[in-house]
């Protein structure tokens, strides 16, 4: 999130799209309710009339997978009616940048941007015109036909209400009602907010969905202000934290791009990953990249190795190879690797196309399942359709402690790092993850030391001083505070910081990331967390409840990255003279000598001319975003599986640069996908309910929750139900090109058929929390724990396609094609 949960109360208009916070983030509704009480308008756009829709002033239905068309129409509306916050757009975005005249928009280029070669873009034309000094040419009047603003206008001139309505199925009057209401926040004293979740990310155009809204927020001047921003409502309490710490394959902790095989030295790696700019006023914060990479290497290896050697130890990604979840399971399916740790994950339920996932697991020699409960993944070998006698995989179960059974921090969606104490001891043999990892580390290290192995120093030279150790160097137990301190970072030698002239002693904690060094004299396990455990101790454990800002910043409650800033990009909440756009909700104010309020972001002294988006090389926010794989502007493409045979906007059906397994010669029958196929005429999305969590491993064992939501169900509109002879409560089959699931029918007027390009298209939805392991029909052995109440139904992900977003590879679980039948009929 750019902002934080409490800040929702400051909005004048909240758009809920791609999320359903009333069901899935109920506590957020405390703040949404406060905003509404103060007069805010609440808008919900969703294929289903959800619990959130029920609380909204305006509800607009849309077909799954058509968000860019919907939002592209909003961009057109804003531009046509000149509702932009002009000064903001001119000063703080790249709207005036002049783009290479050879650049072509999809409207002039068969539905794709210029540069498409095969399945990737050559981005040469996605560039700016520059002067002799290499500086970007600009037109501050925004009139030049090649400036970003005019290109934006041209791109979305195609997204008329008529065509948008034909694509999305949203009635035209509803489209316009939403556009009109949200665009009102373009006034400098109005704040509009957007809450999204998996409903936006889990698409082949997921990243571009969010880009489209980011463009709208920039046009309306909503970024950086109280009650504004773009909010990713995370699906778990600590997803933000795990992302910050490099859970994903393409980044190291602190969003440092992962090293590639072609980055053969630290110098090359730093050079490739450090952005450069010729814009004189731009701070270009990422110029500090070498300080963060050096400090991370020091956190890993301390002074056991030189920085160059430490870099050499790091694993590298092969250039151009994708290591995402979908690819990993595809490789497992193709027997490319033989061992697997499922750590706090239940891919047999949560992975797209679980038939393929489960089949892939049969190729493993061993699997280690680290979890609170035995689950469908650890038990895949005795799941439906499996013959244990024919499966070679040896599975080890390591029980681990739940979050209440250990001490540590979580970082929530609002980037708030909160320390939590241990409430109870873990049961039985369950141990905290850090203890399990530590035990594993020392055993593997010992094996390397005894037996050797390629690049054994990568392991043997790691520092692992997180607590008291016994004679052989092993830890007696993990002191999680030592880990937190290493994340913050230390001075590893006496040092005078050149910028501040402050002197530090070896062993001092680094006060903030501005003090991190590129010469190896500092460590930091995650630079954005530097300042979280420094001179004043464990900042995340703070529980101060003062709010001098009056807008709910609560700066002494825990700690927020970066440097306790609660609203990022807040340098854009003031005009170029330093005056807040909205004095009533000022995030930062200049008191004559310094900024007060939130920790200022990027902004120099008033009138300094420094553009506030300092994480962008040019200092301004990107309306034109050439960094993405699939286009500098978002363009509507149909989901991999669509009810349509043709994209109504262009001849390009699907995002041209997504990785396809469904094409012949690449995948197998397991990777099938079907569009405009009468066998699968119904649009489907997965979703969640309040009562269950993720793959249900924690909640399906809980009888109170199972009592409320006992089974997999499919929400079906009454017309489709009539057509299929299905009544509420009937047992049904739901089928896709990949598999089928048994479920209970929930016939509801909350879903309505769409009219898509003049034809009726139905949409259904089902939650993905269920799995066979807690069902009544499975076999329970003598030692198997039986749930107090059984659940009914299997994983919804049996149906979902294994296709990912062009940038992130997140699977497209929110738009695919199915059919439904009453049990006994098919």
């Amino acid at each position: 999130m750019t902002n934080h949960w409490i800040d929702f109360q400051n909005s004048d208009c909240i758009l809920i799209m791609g999320s359903n916070p009333a069901s899935n983030h109920p506590v957020s509704f405390k703040w949404i309710t406060k905003a509404v009480e103060k007069g805010a308008k609440l808008i919900c756009v969703d294929p289903r009339f959800t619990q959130s829709a029920a609380k909204s002033h305006i509800y607009a239905p849309l077909r799954s997978g058509t968000d860019i068309a919907f939002l592209g129409g909003m961009i057109k509306y804003i531009l046509d009616h000149n509702l932009i916050q002009e000064e903001y757009v001119k000063s703080y975005t790249n709207a005036g940048f002049l783009v290479n005249p050879a650049f072509k928009l999809p409207g002039d280029n068969d539905g794709v941007f210029s540069g498409l070669t095969g399945e990737t873009y050559d981005k040469t034309t996605w560039s700016y015109q520059t002067d002799a000094d290499g500086k970007v040419k600009k037109d501050s009047t925004l009139q030049d036909p090649h400036c970003v603003y005019q290109l934006l206008k041209k791109q979305y001139s195609r997204y008329t209400p008529d065509i948008v309505s034909r694509i999305t199925g949203t009635p035209k009057d509803k489209l316009l009602e939403v556009y009109k209401e949200f665009s009102k926040t373009g006034r400098p004293d109005k704040a509009g907010n957007i809450l999204y979740a998996m409903g936006w990310t889990q698409h082949t155009v997921g990243t571009q969905n969010i880009r489209t809204m980011s463009i709208i927020q920039l046009l309306l001047g909503n970024m950086g202000i109280a009650g504004g921003g773009v909010q990713a409502l995370r699906g778990e309490a600590n997803v933000q934290g795990s992302t910050d710490f490099g859970l994903l394959f393409h980044i190291l902790p602190g969003y440092l791009g992962a090293p590639l095989a072609s980055h053969t030295s630290l110098a090359i790696y730093n050079d490739k990953r450090t952005p450069k700019t010729r814009e004189q006023n731009s701070l270009n914060w990422w110029k500090n990249f070498p300080k963060y990479s050096a400090s991370l290497l020091r956190a890993f290896y301390g002074t056991n190795a030189s920085l160059d050697d430490a870099y050499a130890y790091l694993p590298k990604l092969d250039d151009g190879v994708d290591y995402s979840w979908l690819t990993l399971f595809d490789q497992m399916y193709k027997e490319k690797f033989s061992g697997f740790f499922a750590w706090g994950m239940n891919p047999a339920v949560s992975g797209a196309n679980t038939f393929k996932v489960r089949k892939a697991m049969t190729n493993l020699d061993w699997m280690v399942n680290v979890n609170l409960f035995d689950n469908e993944t650890g038990d895949f070998w005795r799941g439906p359709g499996m013959d244990p006698k024919k499966i070679k995989t040896e599975v080890f179960m390591l029980p681990c402690a739940f979050s209440f059974e250990k001490e540590g921090s979580i970082t929530n969606s609002g980037r708030l790092m909160q320390w939590r104490n241990k409430a109870v001891e873990p049961p039985g043999e369950a141990r905290p993850d850090a203890e399990i990892i530590t035990d594993l580390y020392f055993r593997i290290k010992e094996l390397y030391e005894k037996e050797g192995g390629p690049l054994k120093e990568a392991l043997t030279q790691l520092t692992w001083n997180y607590g008291p150790s016994v004679m052989d160097g092993r830890l007696m137990h993990v002191d999680i505070h030592a880990v937190a301190k290493e994340i913050n970072g230390y001075f590893l030698e006496d040092k005078i910081d050149q910028a501040s002239k402050r002197a530090f002693k070896k062993g001092d904690p680094v006060p903030a990331f501005a003090f991190l060094q590129d010469d190896g004299s500092t460590s930091s396990g995650c630079w954005i967390y530097c300042n979280s455990y420094a001179e004043k101790g464990n900042m995340a454990a703070r529980r101060g409840t003062k709010d001098p800002s009056g807008i709910g910043l609560y700066p002494e409650w825990a700690w927020s990255w970066p440097v306790n800033r609660r609203i990022i990009y807040n340098g854009a909440s003031v005009d170029s003279k330093g005056v807040p756009w909205d004095a009533k909700r000022a995030v930062i104010t200049w008191d004559g000598t310094k900024w007060v309020g939130d920790i200022p972001d990027g902004v120099g002294n008033p009138g300094s001319g420094r553009p506030p988006f300092i994480m962008k090389p040019d200092g301004v926010a990107s309306i034109f975003g050439p960094g993405l794989a699939d286009g500098p502007f978002p363009e509507h493409y149909e989901p991999l599986e669509s009810p349509l045979a043709k994209n109504l906007l262009s001849d390009q059906m699907v995002n041209p640069v997504v990785k396809r397994w469904d094409k012949s010669g690449i995948g197998t029958v397991m990777d099938a996908a079907r569009s405009a196929d009468p066998m699968f005429p119904v649009v489907c999305t997965t979703m969640r309910v309040s009562e269950h969590w993720q793959s249900g491993v924690l909640t399906r064992w809980q009888p109170w929750l199972v009592e409320m939501q006992p089974s997999l169900f499919v929400e079906i509109d009454p017309e489709l139900a009539r057509e299929k002879g299905i009544k509420s409560g009937d047992q049904i089959f739901i089928k896709s090109a990949r598999g089928q699931a048994e479920a209970v029918a929930m016939v509801t007027a909350r879903l309505k058929p769409f009219t898509i390009d003049g034809k009726i298209v139905h949409q259904v939805a089902l939650p993905w929390h269920f799995g066979w392991a807690t069902s009544a029909t499975r076999a329970y052995g003598a030692k198997d724990k039986k749930p107090e109440l059984f659940t009914y139904g299997n994983a919804a992900n049996r149906l979902t396609p294994n296709i990912g977003d062009a940038n992130t590879m997140i699977p497209e679980s929110k738009a695919f094609m199915v059919n439904i039948f009453r049990k006994g009929v098919a």
Binding site: A22, S23, P26, V27, F29, K30, T33, F49, Q51, S52, A53, A54, K55, Y59, V689, S690, E691, P703, W704, L705, V706, E707, M708, Q709, P710, S711, F713, K727, S728, G729, V744, A745, M746, V747, T748, A749, R750, K752, E788, L789, Y792
Partner: protein
């Protein structure tokens, strides 16, 4: 102790059911086997083991739109409480807070309260031969805490406080909402200690009768038997209760059958 009221502002209820599970947890009520019958509402009704239930109702509108109503259902905690008045065993009691408490040790399973409650809230368990309902977390409010449901509510749809203040809040909120919004409860049976702010006309909320009444048959039987001391003795009350079951009341027994499955 000052008289206290729980205020339920349905306009702020998001149907998350935090209150329903908080009730189960605080009161350690067992879960029962359920099926999905085509609604999120589950169990389908209040039960001997479900004292707080969030009801979900879809309403189709003339323009083709739909509304989805959520509201918390449970004992209304009347001042002039029929169950207290009629219970022959003293198992229904008035508490200082104004809530209607239960002393289930004393319950004789006669089901008088089940039949007599004008709101249909107490539920009978054949297994224990007792009737159950919300106690407004007596133990919590006696220790200056709010009921578990209120504590769990994330949005402020549930509030708990001094009676006068809550009623004032309720009327202010109803005025704010305008339209068909109204306050429900304060005028019935000397004032209930659960007070609703309803956003739509009362008829939309199926568990809330517009004009709650004690069934005349209940009063008839009580008056008939009282002179003989039989009422207090609880003689034959179950059969009397059965005899006085109206068509509307039959639902309760249907639900009890559902209970038994649990």
């Amino acid at each position: 102790m000052v008289e206290k009221v729980e205020l339920i502002d349905v306009s702020k209820c998001i149907g998350c059911r935090g209150c329903q599970i908080a009730c189960k947890q605080w009161n350690q009520l067992p879960a029962g086997l359920t099926t999905n019958s085509g609604t999120y509402q589950n169990p389908p009704d209040l039960q001997a083991n479900t004292w707080t239930l969030v009801r979900f109702r879809e309403v189709s509108e003339k323009d083709g739109g739909v509304e989805w109503l959520f509201w918390k259902d449970g004992c209304m905690h009347c001042t002039d409480a029929t169950c207290v008045n009629l219970c022959p065993a003293g198992a229904r009691i008035h508490l200082d807070s104004g809530a209607v408490g239960t002393d289930n040790e004393k319950c004789i399973g006669c089901q008088t309260c089940v039949v007599a409650c004008p709101f249909g809230k107490p539920k009978y368990s054949e297994e224990s031969n007792k009737a159950y309902k919300c106690r407004l977390c007596t133990d919590r409010i006696e220790n200056d805490s709010s009921p578990a449901c209120v504590k769990a509510c994330p949005t402020g749809a549930l509030q708990f406080g001094e009676k006068g203040k809550m009623i004032e809040l309720a009327y202010r909120r109803a005025r704010e909402l305008g339209g068909d919004a109204s306050v429900y409860g304060d005028k019935f049976f000397g004032g209930t200690h659960i007070i609703y702010v309803l956003e739509k006309k009362v008829g939309f909320y199926s568990s809330l009768p517009a004009k709650p009444k004690v069934a005349s048959s209940v009063i008839f039987w009580k008056d008939l038997l009282k002179p003989f001391g039989a009422w207090e003795a609880g003689i034959g009350l179950a059969s009397i209760a059965a005899a006085s079951v109206s068509k509307q009341r039959r639902n309760i027994f249907d639900n009890d059958r559902h209970n038994k499955r649990g």
